[in-house]
Symmetry: C2
Subunit: 130 residues, 2 copies
DNA sequence: TTATTATTGCGACTTAGTTGCAATAATAAG
DNA sequence: CTTATTATTGCAACTAAGTCGCAATAATAA
């Protein structure tokens, strides 16, 4: 399937490019002044993931967040998402952390995906807390 | 609220104690020959999590898995779940890996939870694959 | 200009997990 | 042992996130 250029796609990609955060569907839709259908947003995001333009992270509430691939590893031309994410329980932001991880696996195991998420309170919210 | 001893609870805990894996609701229910209601299973599991008896991990399909706390860190009497998990895309098992991780966070950030999950194929399934 | 087909919008659907409420039963009190 | 208290359970209804089928739209190729 050859990809086509559409407004919805460029709008969504621009929102993602404009931040270093991983956005939930909800957050993304809020940023899109142009009304784009829910299902379309999900389809576009999944296409971006397939194309390696964006990566998806699952938070511990089971909600997916999408981030533009900027700080991702590219060892010998292979794209890897082995970095951690931090989710603030108060303000809800999910940020990509720089820190890369390599976890030793039992012999014979094959890795296809990595999902690392730490939750807590970001500096701002931790201070406001009390 | 003081806890009471019930059959459902001991059954569920026994299933979890008998394995080193993190079980989904579905997998757990399959192990329970005694019919326990879906909602009850979830409530029991969440109670166990509150009590620090069990920990919950989210897989990248947004499905939660529960494991008995055996290999969890206990620095100065504080219970921590900073280990990784491996989920096999074929057989669906989620295992707790020994490997502990400490991720450096920006100053002022406060951690409350850790969720680390690697997906791929376990040795057995990788070999069968082809 | 027309044909091809990727993409969109809409609604219906699925799946995982939660919640309200009345019934049940574990523990404490008498 | 009997009764009272209330944590726990089962059931059904509900929620929320994400997916899917399908007809309409529109980007690209011919
Ligand atoms: Mn990436
Ligand atoms: Mn633990
Ligand atoms: Zn925050
Ligand atoms: Zn396997």
């Amino acid at each position: 399937m050859k990809r086509r250029n559409t407004q919805a796609q460029t709008d969504i990609l621009n929102v993602l490019k404009a931040t270093d955060r991983a956005l939930s569907h909800e957050q993304l839709q809020a940023e899109l002044e142009a009304k784009v259908d829910r299902a379309t947003i999900y389809r576009v995001l999944n296409r971006f993931c397939e194309d390696g333009l964006v990566h998806k992270v699952m938070d511990d509430d089971g909600k997916q967040h999408f981030a533009y691939c900027a700080g991702c590893d590219k060892p010998n031309n292979k794209h890897q998402h082995n970095h951690f994410h931090f989710k603030c329980r108060k303000c809800g932001t999910v940020e990509c952390l720089q820190h890369k991880v390599h976890i030793p696996l039992p012999e014979g195991y094959v890795v296809t995906d990595f999902n690392g998420m730490i939750s807590g309170y970001c500096k701002k919210c931790a201070e406001e807390q009390q």
